[in-house]
Symmetry: D2
């Protein structure tokens, strides 16, 4: 409904969104040299990469190892790869956030037989150390934190356009890579067996291409699986709303009056978490079914204007525009907090706050005090952008689900017999190619059924089953 | 029960505890000059202070203003001060953590008529910018982050021993200041009207002095009020367990199996929070009443050994020693997290992990991976010290309660008619000196009773009532 | 999913199900005369009814008045009827449970202009006093508690086959009335404008007729609206599981170990309620998505055999057969409780308990102790039938939703221009006939939007909106 | 705090309170003969009892057996009695509610070696079948449901004054038995080793006697143990508020607006339960600490007048008088429910509703509609008496705790060496007479520590530990 993953990746906007979800620990802003101007070489003698500082690879390796701890499903895929190489011969070009979790995905693809070249889908989101660690082990990574727009396209180009190597699979997040190949190297598509796309925006672009008859390879939409939706919205937001508020404001939740605008999956998650920690929660909702659910779940359904003067925190999760207007912001009380968990940055009318009589004071990273002439301060988080992407981290566990789905989609498209997939956009099939699927599912099912409950946690086992889930549930 | 505030402040230990609960944003470690060697002067021409860098005062002022937003009770005390100055003539020497919240307290004391000199009770906890902001407005602050032990005592000495100024009130947190005055300037006690002490350790020292017949002024124990206990333990830990775990590990709570050792107030808070976010929570408890409460609250009461192999997270909150032994750590599964929310750093037998066959890897600040020979990693937080002090921040709201209590204790002791308080340790009286109390209580009660429910949040009003609470509840 | 309303009403089974959801307070079993053999006359001189005892009408009237309190939506429909009579000319023959709540529906239909003749869809479920009260005010009711099968059909016949009156609308619950008309009076269908059917079974029969080309009038399926499903399952079961267990066993929930088989809507409701009251809840689930939800909601997902020896209560909510087998019942501990909240009475293998070595002891109504040779007792509720229908009452509020939907479906079908509905089964349209709908919706919407939040409870207003909900949500 | 067990048993009031907490299944009101006028004889030929109908004993036996299922602690005491008879020689006269649970206590005392004569502490609360079952096995019971005041004293007298038998222990609930012996048979006290008293009222009477120097034997106050208080209030009320409301009104909780007056233990229990089931809960509270707790637990603290017009349900739990006034009842909305969970029947000003302009309509047992001239109905439960005693049942589990405590107090007093207890009122000692205690505690502790977690539920084991709890916790 709301599209937490709505990192729309057109160059005009989302590839340049601020993105703080992964801390970079060793960055020193003193090194001003552009990576493009550096000559770097990894310990194996290769220079087919471009990262901030290859020497940071050890720190990055550690981060990757930490991430592996919570990504059992990918690790179990790797184990399977010891006997089979379902991606042998695959040449994958990828364009995603480059984080420790992505690295686990990439290294899994390599373990399964693929060759990979990788670039970033956002100019801010790269963890430089992780990029260094990947480059050190031979993956051709072109990405660093703080690319310019020109850098961004240069990196994409270096991934696609390299001598003696032509991709036959695309993994995209936002559609910029796909767009670039369409524009610059249309011939590449002759060899491409398929595109796997994760984001709302990228999927939207693919459907448009398909509608216009211009989609020339099969594409797999991994954005719309039930599991991904539930995790990215309900379960993930239930935790990240608390995390985002704490890290930015250290606010105590107990006793606070909070209004949540919207009672979809995201709103349900936010409401449940804040209620559980002792906040008094109100809900605004225009859909009568959702309003009734809020009511039956014990929340007072109100109009925003009824409570605007008394609430301590406003959280928007509607997917609509201008849910909180300037007029309402004028009536909020001193010290109240406003933030957005919904779609894009339009729910709070932030533009209306950029008027001369209001003073903006940046008190911390992602935290602005907007000060009224009478001294009243309203605390605006992330300038109205997505709180969970800007001010908290997405748990590895959740990213693991997405990454596993991506890996399986790549395996499926790469191994599908000719003709199974046309030039269209697909959801992951309930049953994949039998040769692949049967063995895979039986392996996973056995993990689940034969588990020893006294020696292993459930969630691990269930995570291992997610590859199965992907197939069985997306059409629910 | 557990003493979350048990920052025992003897120089031998707690004044040198690591303390990360307040971020310092502008610190540059490049300035290596000791503040003692600098000559600094504030904009009013005074040099009666010693801080890291007086120029950081504007940033500190902003932090103080942010803190004021959530400290309504102190602000309401200030308003009252416009007509009365209950601390006129008071000369207060203070030794506490120097944070934005403390600054709000100090500036309230000044507004009520007091003169203040202030130093830090911990060598790491000072927010340099806040110290600068206080110095800029004329409070004599001697403190910076990263003092040596010699610096520590030098700062205390500079607060007490200054020409033409002798304190008549002491506000202490840990007892080091009191100890110093006893040792070096016993004559000062002739003028002292009373000591207000907040910490477990400091209160313990005072009772020892009293028992030995050496306490020569009245002292007020503000550590043992019901409100403070409830807030510092149950309500505060309910939030900080989540915050501390998230900031250090980004772990997802949903579906995780967690064992909480101890079901006192701290344990109750941890259990409630984690259960609410979808964790499966087990409890160990040796007190039968607490065990029964855990049971009736829906937690399985187990012995640690029953679940040690399956849990993802262990949290200790017992106040005992070696609750988690090396033997148990040996049996934990790969990737599990161990941390402590209880008293001091002895609940997890961390010492037993410092053996040659185990590798320690510091992966982030406050996060160590302890690696077994077979590759198993256990994630140890804050080296077993208090997670909430080391890895999360204490909400301003909670600190506000303590600060208000301290202010009221100072007012009471300073204004009490001679003879009301002997040379003994007191809890805040239910009814303070009538002249002070009546007006104060009636003011606060009116805030509560005459409030306009549609225009103000409850919690603000209740916070304003906390001064009243202090009087009415501590003997409950 | 589970079909809590699966009162399949074929004469062979569900019309003869035991049904205790409404207490009958004045029944005296001493009056053995069959109502068919009595001559009764109401105070208006009519004898066109057949009930147990017309003199019980006052008591019944009171029950109806109590029910009206919680059925705001129907009452608001009645108010509207003062100016319009959307059912003027309608001759409705109805076959439903005859309870106080049904009476509120019937009297609303009469207020809207309809003539009604009514009979019971179950031989046990009639509240005799309510039947008397309806008869007293002129509704032709033919029903009593404890009909024989012959009585059952006789009553239906007397409703349909009466001189000088032919129905033009059918309201059915289970399909027996529809079946009877098809079989005995096919000509009646020439006048019938439509059938409204509520039950799973009845709807199933209608679809079969439609498939076979034998459906000769439009039919409205009111069973499958989102609202009804959510209410009948999640919200309703969340309360009735507690109610049913308490009324039968007085068991304390706190600290009890409970296993819930199935985590669909019914299971989710049961789990939430029992967890909230301090039970330790385990879940069994074979669907991986539901299992993952259970996990993320904080329940340990287990196989039944893992916990069978330790649990105090087993509750089945799967919709499957033999979820609890004799083998498992053999291993349950002394004093444990077994009950069913799922579909029909097949989830617990009750038949397997009817063997010579086990002793059955009926200890209360709906409560059997099954006693093993070693003295172990297992407490079986409602002989494995639906606990919520057998041992608790369905809240009026929930019945109100169904009744309002039925009323609106009748209005829609009766007023639809010829040709809008063919001989098929329909869901209630999102937008009904504009003449009817516009006024209705605007009336209701105004109740919602113009409400005075300080003077009315939300739920009342929302209930009034349910007629709107019915239209807008069922295709969600 | 509030005294849910405040069945003050002075003849003037509480012994004549209505009491419906245990259903009587076979009562036929047709048998009008007074038991005093009947001649009955049990199967052993004894006629030393006076009950309604000795022939009902089989039904009563079944109820006792059901109760035994949930009273593990007493049953474990009985097992112990096979080797020791700590009550050998004890002649106990008891005056309590006579229910299945009491029967389990009495039969345990008998198994431990005591002879018992028993009577009822309330004229309505006797389960006639249980009284019959006890009489059948030889316990001399004098009690029936619906005694007159004269019967009440006659029964007490028959217990005490019997040829050839003189009591040496008293177990009282309310103090009427003790009062009677003081007044009529003061010489009996020469042989009495001690009195065990459970109720608030009875304990109060004992303290008065003690103060006046008139208490001539040791007395044990079993009312004030932590466990009993927690169970009778927080945990028990958390369940009985739901049960009481459902059984009387079948109200749906989800979405209802509820105001709870008072946030002590009882209020906390009510709030937690209703919040968990989806009600929107407000709290009124005058104690600032409790108000703050309510606030931090997520409830809006209001004045009753703020919400009186909008709430659906009012529940009083304050222990004060006239918490809900006529003026407020006048402003409640149509269909709202008012009930009392607090102390005695004075919280709601029910008397003020007995005015001519209001019509009272008894719609069900314990349910009155009070009807205003404009037709508004307010639903008053149990005429303002305790809802949980009048309209729900107390779980056996809770009664088991009290009964175990009573048994242990009797054992302790009976076995204590002379001189240990003076003529005073005592709490159960932490350590009882070593001879008794050591063996007992070690037995119980072993049950707890050596339990096999896979084969037994926790709560059972914990219940077995309650005897230990009694000793260890009451001075907490």
């Amino acid at each position: 409904k709301t599209g937490r993953r709505s990192l729309s990746r057109s160059i005009s906007q989302s590839s340049t969104d601020s993105y703080s979800s992964a801390a970079s620990y060793t960055d020193s802003s003193d090194d001003e040299t552009s990576p493009r101007d550096k000559t770097q070489i990894n310990s194996k003698g290769s220079s087919d990469f471009c990262v901030k500082n290859i020497k940071q690879n050890e720190f990055g390796r550690r981060e990757i190892e930490i991430a592996e701890q919570d990504m059992s499903a990918l690790i179990s895929l790797r184990k399977r790869a010891q006997s089979e190489k379902p991606l042998a011969g695959a040449k994958i070009v990828g364009c995603t956030h480059i984080t420790a979790q992505t690295a686990v995905l990439i290294e899994t693809l390599v373990a399964l037989g693929a060759q990979c070249r990788w670039t970033a889908c956002n100019i801010y989101s790269t963890q430089n150390e992780v990029a260094a660690a990947l480059s050190e082990t031979g993956v051709a990574v072109f990405a660093w934190k703080g690319e310019s727009e020109d850098d961004f396209w240069w990196c994409i180009d270096r991934c696609v356009n390299t001598e003696g190597w032509q991709p036959n699979m695309i993994l995209d997040d936002g559609g910029d890579l796909t767009h670039w190949v369409y524009k610059k190297y249309p011939n590449v598509f002759k060899k491409i067996r398929g595109i796997v796309e994760e984001s709302v925006t990228g999927v939207h672009r693919l459907y448009q291409l398909s509608k216009a008859g211009k989609l020339c390879v099969p594409a797999m939409n991994v954005n719309d699986s039930v599991t991904k939706q539930k995790f990215d919205n309900l379960y993930c937001c239930r935790e990240s709303i608390l995390d985002g508020l704490k890290r930015t404001t250290d606010v105590m939740f107990g006793g606070k009056q909070v209004v949540i605008c919207g009672y979809g999956e995201v709103g349900k998650g936010c409401c449940a978490a804040l209620k559980a920690l002792g906040a008094i929660v109100y809900v605004t909702e225009i859909d009568p079914i959702c309003a009734l659910q809020a009511c039956m779940d014990g929340f007072r359904v109100v109009k925003l204007n009824e409570v605007i003067r008394q609430v301590d925190i406003i959280i928007t999760c509607t997917g609509n525009k201008n849910v909180v207007t300037r007029d309402q912001l004028d009536r909020m009380k001193n010290g109240s907090i406003v933030c957005n968990m919904g779609h894009s940055n339009t729910e709070i009318d932030v533009a209306s706050l950029r008027t001369p009589e209001l003073t903006w004071e940046r008190v911390r990273s992602q935290v602005d005090h907007v000060i009224w002439p009478d001294g009243k301060r309203v605390i605006l988080l992330a300038e109205g952008r997505l709180l969970n992407l800007s001010c908290s981290t997405v748990p590895t566990f959740v990213l693991s689900i997405t990454a596993t789905t991506q890996a399986l989609a790549l395996i499926e498209l790469y191994n599908a017999p000719e003709g199974r997939y046309k030039q269209d956009v697909y959801l992951l099939p309930k049953k994949m190619g039998e040769d692949i699927n049967t063995a895979l599912v039986s392996f996973i099912r056995s993990s689940f059924c034969d588990r020893n409950p006294s020696s292993s946690a459930h969630i691990d086992v269930l995570l291992c089953c997610l590859s199965e889930l992907c197939f069985e549930t997306q059409e629910v």
